[in-house]
């Protein structure tokens, strides 16, 4: 497909209908993101259920708008009430809320919005530039490489999000892989872990699980522990672009961190923003100002989590492996709407990557207007009691899951996934690797067996190809690193010269 044809396809999906849907997505995303307890991942999962009747690409455009709006919206509540709307904005509370409490709420929101825009644009630029390159590389991959990328994704996601124990992240990811393998096997039609129930033959549906896992625990926790919300007042300060541009180096570095972490499978915006915040604080001339209303800190956090959006979509489109939990739910939505991400996407829908870039650009444009415009009404919305909001969210969870296939079992799955989510939260088991595991289960399974079949059962296929070998080494290093082997070796090496002295 030539450049002109691609452009024609892109403009076809920038009609008034698409622009309206993207704007709606951004608006919904900003509200969902801003409301503490409702996350971007949950919003995408809910809206996937609701929009499943939309024609293919229009629903995806809407969800992309929601993704951009959701990540940015979380900063509104982080600044105004000191509670991050989404985990991605937790680091923004560190400096955003102190700024707002010091009477600089409008300034903090404007700075965070500008940093979000810079971050999103940086991520989009990387998406446009890197996706075709990675797709070209991925076309040379065989089943062995795809299996190892999937496994590496689950393990690194587990290691980076595991919290107090990396093992918790790994077991969550492997549990997700097992859930993803329930149902009829793709290669032999053998029924796995279905308990003979015909409703599970097609596998455990991803969207109801996501709705339940992210939605129900929030509902229960918000209803059982309602707290009074202290909302900061908005001032009328105006911020000039010049004031932000003096932090161009912080923004650039945070953008790179965001995209880099976004590309790593299943890690996501929260890790990106905390990493960027930590790096910025370490490199800052005024680290003592961090946590007390540092504009630099706010720029670092907001640029990174927004640039992560573009970064997370790069492996999703080129490899079919999502870079963050919201991107993982997006993968489910893509499949529902007949778009199968991965290297073959460039043949099936050659203009899709550029369409995605265009939708994200339009979403960024709307985000620029909506974020400030919403700040005032959001002050009121944030004061809505959980006792009103959460029952409505439950109703949306149920209808969102039911509307996909009109099956009662999906409602039950929402409930049980909710209980599982609650258990995971209490035990401090991360959600990201579980989500990634569920999405990648079929990919890991079929490619593992295809690779073995191609080699006649010889495991050396995973070591003899260069990319496979690199991935195996990366997996081994990752495991050894998490088990503290390198740290122990380093300690021994340090002790030896001391002993010699």
């Amino acid at each position: 497909m030539g450049f002109e044809q691609i452009m024609a396809e892109v403009f076809k999906t920038l009609s008034l209908e698409y622009v309206f849907l993207i704007a709606s997505g951004v608006l919904i995303g900003l509200i969902v993101g801003a409301l503490p307890g409702l996350t971007t991942t949950m919003g995408i999962a809910l809206l996937t259920g609701i929009t499943f009747k939309f024609s293919g690409h229009s629903a995806i455009a809407l969800l992309m708008g929601l993704y951009v709006g959701g990540v940015s919206g979380g900063s509104l509540s982080a600044i105004l009430v000191g509670i991050p709307g989404t985990p991605a904005n937790a680091s923004s509370t560190q400096d955003g809320f102190p700024l707002a409490m010091a009477g600089k709420g409008a300034q903090a929101i404007t700075i965070s919005r500008m940093a979000s825009i810079i971050g999103t644009l940086f991520g989009i630029g990387c998406l446009a530039f890197l996706t075709p390159l990675l797709t070209e590389l991925a076309l040379k991959f065989t089943s062995a490489e795809f299996f190892l990328i999937g496994l590496f994704g689950v393990l690194i996601s587990g290691a980076l999000t595991g919290g107090d124990l990396a093992l918790k992240g790994w077991v969550a990811g492997i549990f997700g892989l097992a859930i993803g393998m329930v149902g009829s096997d793709e290669l032999t039609a053998w029924q796995r872990m279905t308990f003979g129930s015909p409703e599970l033959f097609g596998g455990i549906p991803f969207i109801p699980i996501m709705i339940g896992f992210f939605g129900i625990p929030q509902v229960i926790e918000a209803l059982s522990d309602e707290q009074d919300v202290l909302v900061a007042r908005l001032d009328k300060t105006r911020v000039k672009l010049k004031e932000i541009l003096q932090y161009w180096w912080v923004a650039l570095r945070s953008g790179l961190i965001g995209v880099g972490i976004g590309i790593i499978p299943g890690v996501g915006e929260d890790v990106a923003s905390w990493t960027s915040y930590g790096v910025a604080k370490k490199a800052s001339k005024h680290p003592e100002a961090y946590g007390k209303g540092s504009i630099e800190g706010l720029v670092a956090a907001e640029t990174a989590d927004n640039s992560c959006i573009g970064g997370a979509i790069i492996p999703l489109l080129s490899l079919g492996i999502p870079g963050s939990p919201p991107a993982a739910v997006m993968l489910g939505a893509f499949l529902i709407h007949g778009v199968r991400p991965g290297p073959m996407l460039s043949f099936e829908f050659p203009a899709f990557t550029y369409q995605a870039v265009a939708w994200l650009l339009v979403a960024t444009l709307f985000m620029r207007f909506f974020a400030m415009w919403l700040a005032k009404p959001m002050q009121r919305i944030l004061q809505i009691k959980s006792a009103i909001l959460m029952p409505i969210v439950t109703v949306l969870c149920a209808i969102g899951a039911y509307s996909l296939d009109m099956r009662f079992i999906d409602i039950f799955l929402v409930f049980f996934a909710g209980l599982l989510g609650l258990l995971f939260k209490r035990g401090k088991y991360p959600a990201a690797p579980l989500v990634l595991g569920i999405v990648l289960g079929p990919l890991v399974d079929t490619n593992f067996r295809r690779a073995l079949k191609a080699s006649g059962g010889d495991f050396s296929i995973f070591f003899t190809r260069p990319v496979s070998l690199i991935l195996v080494i990366a997996i081994v290093m990752l495991i050894l690193g998490q088990l503290g082997v390198f740290a122990k070796i380093w300690e021994l090496l340090k002790k030896k010269p001391e002993a010699a002295v």
């Binding site: 609701i50 093992l167 918790k168 229960i220 209803l223 149920a398 209808i399 890991v444 073995l452 079949k453």
Partner: protein, 178 residues
């Protein structure tokens, strides 16, 4: 100064206690993962030896991955449980203590009521009552239970929500609601 040191020591004790409780919970969660892993591995084992799959190449057998994944999950679960035992020392005693404290907290009961409300809506109301009725009852019931405001306000919000959801899904999206 003394007061500050005292507060910081108190915080450390609370944090240590929270960690010990987390480790105690890890014992049970780890054993849970071990059980699930064993089931997954068993399912793989059954597939591996199924006569129906005798003609399928062993390397392409659907049991290969589940056997591997199940064993790995079981192993990780066991390691987590062991870490939990060493970290908490008396997991059962700590769990008993945590449960008795939880049972005395108001938050827990509120959570149970919320969960029960959702369960009633999902499992009893959903396929037995017309959608509009069940959803209105659920919304009004939950809002009343959790003291959302005056009865007329609850009625208005519940009614408006039901009308919007029914119109968007039942009419616009043409989804056959129960």
């Amino acid at each position: 100064m003394e007061g500050v040191r005292g507060r910081s020591e108190q915080r450390d004790v609370i944090m240590d206690e929270a960690k010990v409780r987390l480790r105690s919970m890890d014992v049970f969660m780890g054993l849970g993962f071990l059980a699930v892993g064993a089931f997954v591995a068993y399912d793989g084992f059954v597939a591996f030896h199924a006569t129906q799959l005798a003609t399928v190449d062993k390397s392409a057998n659907p049991g290969v991955t589940t056997l591997f994944i199940g064993s790995l999950m079981g192993l990780l679960g066991l390691v987590i449980a062991v870490i939990g035992v060493t970290g908490s020392r008396h997991p059962f005693r700590i769990a008993r203590q945590a449960i008795s404290e939880t049972l005395r907290s108001k938050t827990f009961y509120k959570g149970v009521v919320a969960m029960a409300g959702i369960a009633v809506y999902f499992f009893i109301f959903w396929d037995r009552l017309p959608y509009v009725v069940s959803t209105f009852l659920f919304l009004a019931g939950m809002m009343t239970t959790f003291k959302a405001g005056a009865w007329w306000k609850i009625g208005l919000i519940s009614g408006a929500t039901v009308a919007i959801v029914w119109y968007v899904f039942g009419v616009l999206a043409m989804i056959p609601l129960p």
